[in-house]
Subunit: 316 residues, 2 copies
């Protein structure tokens, strides 16, 4: 349930490149034209446009966008234009830098992508940064956060639907025991979260709920302000109900005193081709306001136009 | 420096299948013919033979080999015939079972394969066992061994040659500090071993040697019988000088009172297409006996013939 809207007839990559070139030409930039093109092309099409642009003009589209645009609009267009795997590599790299460090972004990429998507991000990381994604994360995180994040990004989970119910029961019990002992960073807890398939974990958490009377995320709220526990709860949500996790990220980003544009942009560009429709439904249910309206109320100018276009607003 | 020898003209897969079928026919089995064919075909050719066999006869070549052959010879032929990725998946799965548990086999697969080969083994594991390789390893190992093995099998190391010398220096110092503190299972030690590229680790260990006067493997010999320290030393050897690691496995397998056929078979079948030539050179240097002669002296019959064929003995 993507929100991305494609035109009924998609122009050829060379036509798109020609139009983009026009948008950059002369004094000033035609932002509307850029949005009209890029915000209505899927990943494969954007890749083709990038390739054609470089073949035709001997220049890098991303660099040209970078020099033509600015601030939040620039970041949204650049992140959107990147291939999903390259974008994930970029976001994770940024999340390991001191000033932009974020365990949340790393966790999102680790837990909401498919096994193959996560792997492609790791490959893109090699290609771009000449290092492995996990070595940078391991190097730049520490303590319990490292213990949790490194196995999560290194996972290559089984993606079949088979669920082993007796395993689900025994691992639900393990979770319950560890939570009772407040052993939240226990090796077993991390092993299960970082290696089991998503359907298997879902069965385990359902069993936990049935057997012990609370959702596991509720039992992980001993100290609501504890950052490690927050991350654990988010991991569980990302692995089983990612739309709920993302709804909350959007809610907090929008309700903040001064919008959190980085988070808003990240969710819109990474989910527009995936499940932004479901996230928007969840948002409306939880906030009684359509997501589009909330975003429009909190942003302005080209940035607003770009986000709304990606959210499926208006014609392609 | 593989030892595998291919005939100058390789018969077509259908011809090979026909011959194999003949080798199975009637009373008794023609083992020589089986060796003559399978021990002189590379991975891609063996795969094609398996496919053609199943298309032509509606039967599984591996199952037929399994029912026609027995004991050590059977295991060698079966393991050899499997695709490398499927073979690795099989070996690791076996290594997680109670009666055949082996941290060594898991470590070998994790540390001597390329990033892509290890990944293919993880994919083959999904396909065959409907689970992830790392979840089985995590589930069936414990304590420090788990802490070490799970990140090793989950690694997707960068494979370029770039080395960061200042990082090598600082991480050599980290190793030295942890070894002085006898903190062999420290998170930092495991992080570095499990995430850095092989050239980077090589630089780190060289720097360790230059700076602190001993090879790191020597400093990790505080208690020569400690299983965890043994594994650590083997990891370092596998990551930097795999031929030396394998030479020792062969030496111990052959010198044992009663040969360790499982280890012998494993090394020959997994390395014949990779670096068995280098391993054999290392063996001769260390033992003053050619590897072929040592193997011939310790094995017999079809099993001996199969191993020698894979080691490049005689004509293809």
């Amino acid at each position: 349930m993507a929100t991305l809207k494609l035109p009924s007839t998609v122009p050829s990559p060379s036509e798109d490149c020609e139009q983009l070139r026009k948008a950059f030409a002369g004094w000033g930039t035609n932002e509307d034209l850029i949005i009209q093109i890029l915000a209505h092309r899927n990943g494969a099409q954007r890749k083709k446009i990038q390739e054609t642009y470089s073949e035709t003009y001997g220049e890098d589209l991303l660099k040209d966008l970078d020099s033509e645009l600015s601030s939040d609009f620039q970041r949204a267009v650049l992140l959107w234009t990147l291939e999903p795997a390259e974008r994930d590599a970029y976001l994770v790299n940024e999340a390991t830098k001191k000033l932009t460090a974020s365990n949340w972004v790393i966790m999102e990429v680790a837990c909401t992508r498919s096994s193959d998507q996560l792997l492609c991000a790791r490959k893109a990381y090699h290609a771009k940064y000449k290092k492995s994604l996990e070595e940078d994360i391991a190097h730049h995180t520490s303590g319990d956060f490292r213990k949790l994040l490194v196995p999560l990004v290194s996972a290559f989970r089984y993606e079949g639907d088979e669920v082993n119910m007796s395993l689900a029961k025994s691992e639900a019990k393990t979770f319950h025991q560890k939570i009772c002992d407040k052993a939240y960073n226990d090796d077993e807890v991390i092993r299960i979260l970082a290696t089991r398939s998503k359907p298997q974990l879902n069965a385990t958490f359902n069993h936990y709920n049935d057997q012990f009377g609370n959702a596991i995320t509720k039992d992980l709220k001993a100290d609501p302000e504890d950052e490690y526990l927050k991350l654990l709860r988010s991991i569980i949500k990302c692995l089983t109900v990612p739309e709920k996790y993302y709804e909350k990220v959007l809610r907090l980003a929008i309700n903040k005193l001064g919008t959190d544009e980085k988070a808003l942009t990240r969710v819109v560009v990474t989910r527009a081709e995936v499940d932004l429709q479901r996230i928007a439904e969840e948002y409306q249910r939880r906030n009684s306001v359509p997501l589009e309206r909330a975003v429009a109320g909190d942003t302005s100018g080209d940035y607003e136009k770009m986000l709304l276009a990606l959210m499926g607003h208006g014609d392609a």
